[in-house]
Symmetry: C2
Subunit: 322 residues, 2 copies
């Protein structure tokens, strides 16, 4: 979940209970980092923004994945581990309204697995990289006695300008791509990062704020609301629930999963109402688009269900990988 | 040793014996990465070069360090582990003739250590970052049951243009900053990355090729010669031996250590003879500068000692951390 908060998106902190103190930790670092005109946006979003003079900006995202936390090497094919290692970063770049350009793959390989693990993992990275016109431009290959660790860095460019979490305005529609919940049954290894969808959004409308849903819709709605200094009302009946959430569960449990499972890697974004309705009319991607709520001047995050309003808890991630 | 070969510089591969197959692995990836005008230099140097249009280029270096391989957390202060995690990347950027701009810190923290490890490690990163005007712009904080792993990415800019390993010309002088050998007794945690020295070099002369000495002078001479498609003759009597190499050792053993210990993180570079002698006259840095050899059209790397010429073995790294 949002690590040094500018770049990461995996929910490990909460798994081991850093949670509140992690947030404090990140805030304490944020205060100590200094500033530079070369780094217009540092810690605190899906990716950092670096200034390249008149040529514009670069986006940089970094995510570290560990065996047993973000994947299980005894269950997942190494190609899928490599794929996910890159995909989570492509999702971060997309959430900034950007397109990825180059990737860097650092790995700590368990000595017991030898070269075939490195080969298969790297092939998974290369295959996804090709799908998104990303060049594998470097990295660091290590062997050790510990479990597999991957750390991918992706450098990208904004489609026009970068979109932060902080620009949502009262009255904006909150919208999401795709559907939510149940990712840990397998989708978290195979999801398509919403790079093309982000480019289409940037082409069609002015996106006020955007984040990728890694901690779960509820938690990421809170992140966006906090950074934008606004409130949010979510329409519980409008949330698109993934087919990965069993249909025989009670409706309440299905909604809870869509709100809190996490690792959906869909885009959550805020646009003006006119732009929102235009998107619903002019959206040409096969990926569904859905309005899930409204930005409010009144602080706090709320959930409306069956006409009743209740607080939306920042439940976020509560599951171990299963 | 140079992992996906564009960015890493730590000798872990050889410790666990990937060596030759690792080189093959990197070469096989290099062939599969595709190409893009946005990535003029990918896998194969100290850092990758990304194109930013008319505004110039960015440099990107990535290094992953693991407890028990690149440091021992039971012996090294966490601040020094953080410091080294950043320093090895600053050294890579310097070796490209660049200056660092922004750093990204990803960590997998052992759950047993809690927040104080994260705090102290990050403070070590922040302190060194401040010394070199680098902004900590993001990262990824994780907690797990394994040993400490850090992965730092640094983005920099060339001082004018970037310097690769491949530009050495027959007749060039080979020069090094500082002194070599014995780094593992402690200097590997505290070394000053040669960022300022690289900037001064770039200001004073045209540097034909450069690499930072991470695998040991002998191994890195081989890397530079291979990439430049030249040979090298090293003057064994001219090699500056660090005070960290015990003075009571036999001269042969002292030389061997300077050639092969590694983790010196000094700059090894090739310049035209006129530029080399000018550097010796006009060098204003306190860091010593020394000519250690000559680039030759004849292939192969040779060592001259007491008037005798012998092959220079690519001994590289042979030590465990002690």
């Amino acid at each position: 979940m949002m690590p040094l908060d500018s770049t990461g998106d995996t929910p490990c902190g909460r798994i081991t209970g850093m949670s509140r103190s992690e947030f404090d930790f990140i805030e304490s670092i944020r205060r100590r980092t200094g500033s530079s005109p070369l780094v217009p946006l540092g810690i605190g979003d899906d990716a950092a923004v670096l200034a390249n003079g008149p040529a514009g900006e670069s986006l940089v995202a970094v995510d570290m994945l560990m065996d047993g936390t973000h994947f299980r090497l005894d269950e997942a094919a190494p190609e899928l581990v490599g794929r996910k290692s890159l995909a989570v970063n492509l999702s971060d770049i997309a959430a900034m309204g950007g397109r990825p350009v180059a990737a860097f793959l650092a790995i700590a390989l368990p000595a017991s697995h030898g070269r075939s693990l490195a080969e298969r993992l790297t092939q998974g990275v290369l295959d996804l990289a090709r799908d998104y016109d990303v060049i594998l431009a470097g990295g660091d290959t290590n062997v050790w006695s510990g479990p597999l660790v991957t750390c991918v860095t992706v450098v990208g460019q904004p489609n026009g300008r970068s979109v932060q979490r902080s620009g949502a305005k009262p009255g904006d529609w909150l919208m999401v791509t795709g559907s939510l919940g149940g990712s840990l049954t397998g989708r978290h290894l195979r999801f398509e990062p919403r790079v093309r969808e982000a480019a289409l959004l940037m082409e069609l409308v002015e996106v006020h704020a955007m984040i990728d849903i890694s901690d779960g819709l509820a938690a990421d709605v809170h992140h966006l609301a906090r950074e934008s200094n606004v409130g949010v009302t979510i329409d519980g009946d409008a949330i698109p629930i993934s087919a990965d959430v069993p249909s025989d569960l009670p409706p309440e449990e299905r909604l809870r999963r869509a709100l809190s499972d996490g690792e959906d890697f869909e885009l959550l974004f805020a646009v003006a109402p006119d732009d929102g309705s235009r998107l619903l009319r002019e959206w040409t991607s096969e990926t569904p688009l859905c309005r899930v709520g409204t930005v409010t001047a009144e602080a706090g995050c709320r959930l409306v269900r069956n006409g009743n309003v209740e607080p939306l808890p920042e439940t976020g991630w509560t599951h171990e990988l299963s």
